[in-house]
Amino acid sequence: MGAKTLLSHSFRIAWKDILELYRNKLGLVLLIVMPLFMMAMVGFIYPTGGSSASNLPVAIVDSDAGYHNSTITAGQTFTSVLQQINSKTDMMKLTTATSAADIKNLIQRGDIEGGILIPSNFSASLASGEQGTVVIITDQSNPQVSTTIETLLSSVFSEMSTMMAQHNVQALSPTITANDSLAIVQPYKVQTQGVVPGAPNYFDFVAPGIMAMVVMMSVMTGLPAAISQEKEVGTMDGMMVAPINRLSIILGKTLGQTVRGLFQGLIILVLAVGLFGVTIQGSIPLVFGLLLLGVFSFVGLGIVITSFAKDQQTATMLMMTLMFPMMFLSGIFFPIQQMPWYMQDISKVLPLTYASSALRKVMVLGAGIPDITTELTILIVFGVVMTAIAVPVFRRMMTR
């Protein structure tokens, strides 16, 4: 039997599958809704760039005893400057508390997320030429918020320190301009510049990953589900008694699922660009080429699982068990670099990692084929190895 007949049978099976899918109106709606939900969810619950906090309730205690009999204490100055800075950004909602014990109490009750304590010797230390210490009290029960507050306050304080130092330098030598004084206090200035123009947001980071994931997931869960369903209903027998190559069944099924997956990928792309303002730097054909390659690398795994699972339910559960770690370990939602080393090692053996990384390079950074050869090689090798395992396993499964 020639390759031509094999392919033409595959196309017929794929066409039948697509027709069935098209007739399933609810399924069709879900096909569109699912990626929309996924994009909306990750997009809206995740911090989007820049300032990550707003209106965090923070209490401030000024127990500064002052120095000798100055009318305004350094603590009061500090507080008013802090309020000034905060009124521009609204990152914190500042309230006052009476003592350190009071702050502790308020945090325990959950009224505030953190506190600022100005000790009684604040003015005295500054006046005697020492550093003035400001204490930040954090809520340890919520490490993420406490880290945010810590970073936030540290940056505010450092800004205030700079302002103070600048002021002091100018006081020492009136001839120095504001700019020069800044250069003395902070000789280094940092400027961030990306590879491509514009400031990518979290969607830019997450959209390629979601695309890779949804396309691959749709093939990996769709294929076992479709095949085991046909086995259960009995329609598989109808194809099996036809004088066609067994390979054309699996090929046709895969083709049908791939079309479904790519359709979903396209929906995500449209949503990402149209609704979430993602800009695509690289070539779109290359994006779809990569998605196809990703499908190829995953199909074998899907087939092997189909062959082992006896019914649809088992197949879907098996798939889910595999998909979950992949979703979280392949750097789709969280950068791999943020993971502990042992998790990073695991993510290095998952093909989805490379698919999403290649896709990200192309979509966000505008990379071309030469820039992603490593990823391409790994995906191809993985696909070839899995297919080589899958085909004989599938043949055996079909004639038991």
Binding site: R12, R23, V241, A242
Partner: protein, 334 residues
């Protein structure tokens, strides 16, 4: 046409088929009769290349079912117990899909689909989704689907299962016509005696993976009647225990079973069986209301050969939830 030699199929430790051999002639309607789990369906699946035998060989039209499976598939059609069709496709689309998997030129296929749909009176429904069909319509579709490649051998697995009597008759008539007009060799599995009796030229009685008897329906029945036995159904208005006992002790009577308060079924032997029985009843003052001379049924044969009834486990198999997948309740066309 079909040759089966020492076919054995094991699933783990369970032996579904145990050294089964038989031949089926060209143009014959051959029945496999037995309860569920007897190995009928397994035999069919092996012969239709859907399963591989553990031991033994079989060939169809000279082609080995394992080595030349593709050639075998060109010759056969299978009507499975499960409906092989897609609910979300129309009647025509279903037939077109399955037909296109055979090398049939598209104009021939188009014409054949129209003819087949006409044959089972589904032309009107050809553009309707199969999911909305009634069970009878679905089964007709199921049969027609198997005929797309004009098979020389047709396998039917419980073709009347779950059908109402009228639809069952239609299917049986259709199969007979097919056999008569096209000379199609037909192998049918069933656990209903009527199917076996009315359809099959020869019947293989299968139990626990073995063929326990193989012959024509008439010959099989002779096994039990032994040539000179008669089966009598006697209606006695005033049936008593005493009378039953008297009948049991008669020399010519082999078995007596009471069917209800007035009827007795008995198997008697010899030329004077009628006389002896009637005399015995009269002598006890019994009033004979009716007397029937019954033919032995395949059920009797099966009981005789295996020691248990076919029905024991058979009825459980009727799939009540056949349409579950498409969602209930069903909207029925027709």
């Amino acid at each position: 046409m079909i040759r089966v030699e020492n076919l054995t199929k094991k699933f783990g430790d369970f032996t579904a088929l145990d050294d089964v051999s038989f031949d089926v002639e060209k143009g014959e309607i051959f029945g496999l009769l037995g309860p569920n789990g007897a190995g009928k369906s397994t035999t069919l699946r092996i012969l239709s290349t859907l399963a591989r035998p553990t031991k033994g060989t079989a060939s169809i039209g000279g082609y080995d079912i394992v080595k030349d499976d593709t050639e075998v598939r060109k010759l056969i059609g299978i009507v499975s117990e499960k409906m092989i069709m897609y609910d979300r496709l129309t009647a025509r689309e279903n037939l077109w899909f399955f037909g296109s998997l055979f090398e049939i030129p598209s104009d021939v296929l188009t014409q054949r689909i129209d003819e087949l749909l006409e044959l089972v009176q589904l032309t009107k429904w050809k553009k309707v989704l199969v999911g909305t069909f009634s069970t009878g319509m679905r089964q007709r579709m199921n049969v027609v689907r198997a005929l797309l490649n004009m098979p020389r051998v047709l396998f039917l697995d419980e073709p009347t299962l779950g059908l109402d009597p009228q639809s069952s008759v239609e299917i049986r008539e259709f199969v007979k016509k097919l056999n008569r007009e096209n000379g199609t060799t037909i192998i049918v599995t069933t656990h209903t005696m009527v199917d076996a009796d009315m359809l099959c030229d020869r019947i293989a009685i299968v139990d626990h993976g073995k063929v326990v008897a193989l012959d024509t329906s008439a010959n099989l029945k002779k096994l039990i009647s032994g040539g000179d036995s008669t089966i009598l159904k006697l209606g006695v208005a005033n049936l008593t225990a005493d009378l039953l006992e008297t009948l049991r002790t008669l020399e010519c009577v082999r078995s007596v079973s009471q069917e209800n308060s007035t009827h007795v079924r008995l198997i008697a032997r010899g030329d004077d069986a009628f006389d002896s029985v009637i005399d015995a009843v009269r002598s006890k003052g019994g009033k004979i209301a009716s007397i029937e001379n019954l033919q032995p049924t395949l059920e009797d044969v099966f009981l005789h050969l295996t020691g248990h009834e076919v029905r024991d486990s058979a009825d459980q198999k009727i799939p009540l939830e056949r349409h579950r997948r498409f969602g209930a309740p069903q909207r029925r066309v027709r």
